[in-house]
């Protein structure tokens, strides 16, 4: 087990290095000079040269990269041009908002979808299965930003039950702040439930066909025990991968849902910084998001053998 753990972790190192290079290269590929951008309309070559020197833009690209990595390793991602704040602080505070929304939504989605997928598989082609399958196909087809807009219209504008924009951290505002979470979480949950249910149903059906399940039933185990003890662990593996990928995408790509609900999350910070050509923030966001995604996938990989011990042997 320890060998698998070390091997998997070591395998992530090259990815991290390539990701770092890619982020740096991507920002360099964007046309425009950050120094002249920071100066705005001021047309002064001496000032521009000073600024370029201060930002290290007059050094060789390789040296710029090493300096950037060196600072990043110490937790310093530079200063925001537009907001005049340390990028690390901006990234972390905005990420905290995204994390609250996304983790709550994913947890709720799993609580509904995993049992739903198993029930659908267990009652395959019966009425319960048809109902679950139809509902999940319908939900998976509705974009979360559309659902979000309709939810805002119904519960915010028409019924006036919930706030339509703004955010207050649950950590600071307590339960009262949870009202800001309800609509965005609900909009994400609806679409995520569908994907998890479909995957869970598919892998459960595969597992149910295996001989050891027939054997467990033949020796007279109650159906509940067969499903929970024998089928669930074996069919959860593929679903876990889907959940991991989904979580990574949500943690990073929640830009759209954050725009709909005007949440100050990391996705919106990134999009706004792209508009504002605030390169240090764009760079910091990209790096943070990409490394986070690598970490989530690594955790999923490390958890995988718990559900499917055969994985370790490969």
């Amino acid at each position: 087990m320890l060998g698998y753990l070390l091997k998997r972790t070591a395998a992530a190192v090259p990815t991290v290095i390539v990701v770092t290079v890619l982020v740096f290269a991507m920002i360099r590929a964007i046309p425009g000079d950050p120094a002249s951008l920071m100066l705005g309309d001021i047309d002064n070559p001496a000032l521009l040269a000073n600024m370029r020197h201060a930002l290290g833009l007059d050094r060789p690209v390789g040296e710029q990269f090493m300096i950037w990595v060196g600072h990043a390793l110490q937790g310093d991602l530079g200063m925001s041009i537009a907001r005049r704040e340390p990028v690390t602080h901006l990234v972390l505070t905005h990420f905290a908002v995204t994390a609250q929304v996304v983790l709550t939504a994913t947890l709720l989605a799993c609580l509904v979808a995993v049992p739903a997928g198993m029930v659908a598989a267990w009652r395959q082609n019966r009425r319960a299965d048809t109902a679950i399958v139809s509902t999940s196909i319908l939900f998976v087809s509705m974009p979360s930003f559309w659902v979000g807009i309709l939810l805002i219209w119904l519960f915010g504008v028409k019924l006036n039950w919930l706030p339509v924009y703004g955010f207050e951290s649950v950590l600071q505002g307590g339960l009262g702040a949870a009202k800001y979470l309800v609509l965005p979480v609900f909009a994400i949950v609806l679409t995520e439930i569908a994907a998890i249910t479909r995957m869970m149903r598919a892998s459960t059906i595969e597992t149910l066909r295996l001989e050891y399940v027939a054997h467990a039933r033949a020796k007279g185990l109650p159906e509940k025990r067969v499903m929970l003890r024998h089928v669930l662990p074996n069919s959860f593996g593929p679903t876990l991968t889907v959940i991991g990928l989904m979580l990574g995408h949500l943690l990073s790509g929640a830009a759209v849902i954050e725009t709909v609900f005007t949440l100050p999350g990391i996705g919106r910070l990134l999009v706004e910084s792209i508009y504002a050509r605030d390169y240090p923030v764009v760079q910091g966001c990209l790096l943070f998001i990409a490394l986070l995604y690598v970490a989530v996938n690594l955790v999923v990989d490390l958890l995988y053998p718990l559900f499917d011990p055969r994985v370790k042997l490969q």
Partner: protein, 274 residues
Amino acid sequence: MSGFKHTNAVLGGFLVGAVVLLALVGLVYTPHDPLEGDLLARFSPPSAEYWLGTDEFGRDVLSRLMAGAGVSVAVSVFSVLLALVLGTTIGVTAGYAGGWVDRGISVLVESMMAFPGLLLALGIMTVLGPSKWGVVLALGLAYSPSVSRIARGAALSLRQRDFVIASRATGHGGLWTVFRHVLPNCVAPLLIFATSIFGSALLAESALSFLGLGVPPPLATWGGMLSESRNAMDQAIWLAVFPGAMISLSLLGINLLGDAVRDRLDPRMRGVMA
């Protein structure tokens, strides 16, 4: 095929067909000009003149939806094709070759996949500038790592299968074995995945336009229309309802049709995926 499955396949085919037809008709005919509005008819609710109402500039929503269908269908089809060609080539090469080739490609693919699809697309759009073909290139590149991962996984497991080993043992070359035995067996997982990214591509195009970073105005896009609808939510909710419904119905059609195609193509998967 059970009655439920059959109904779904027919419904999926009908929806996809309807969207494609709408897109084609929209190329040559729209009831009103999708770009020019009648300022006297701003925010008209659905009526005999304007079936789906008008927006804040008095532009006909139905005409704009028809024009937007063309953009969405074209962008999705071409970006999925690009992703499939790129991803399958890379993935099958890695999975079948194994060894250092696989390790090298995998590190690159994993690193590309560390950028969620929309993010990579955003980066590419920033460099290229917003345009229809920019979105195709961005989405095609963004989805190809996931395609290659699926193709690699399939090729990797097939490499150890008896019929592949037998093909090599009887003296067939690597390329023959790949085309005759490996690729056909990759089709099912790839097609299942292709239908899902086809839907994702359509969704991502809408999302990019919604964020104002996709196909630029004045071209009508479903995502762009949804974004504009937010300003007038309290007085003209139809502006949000119809574009969103178009996206949802298209995705529903793609999902249903994708399931049906999968059932037909891969007997092993019959009834497994819902």
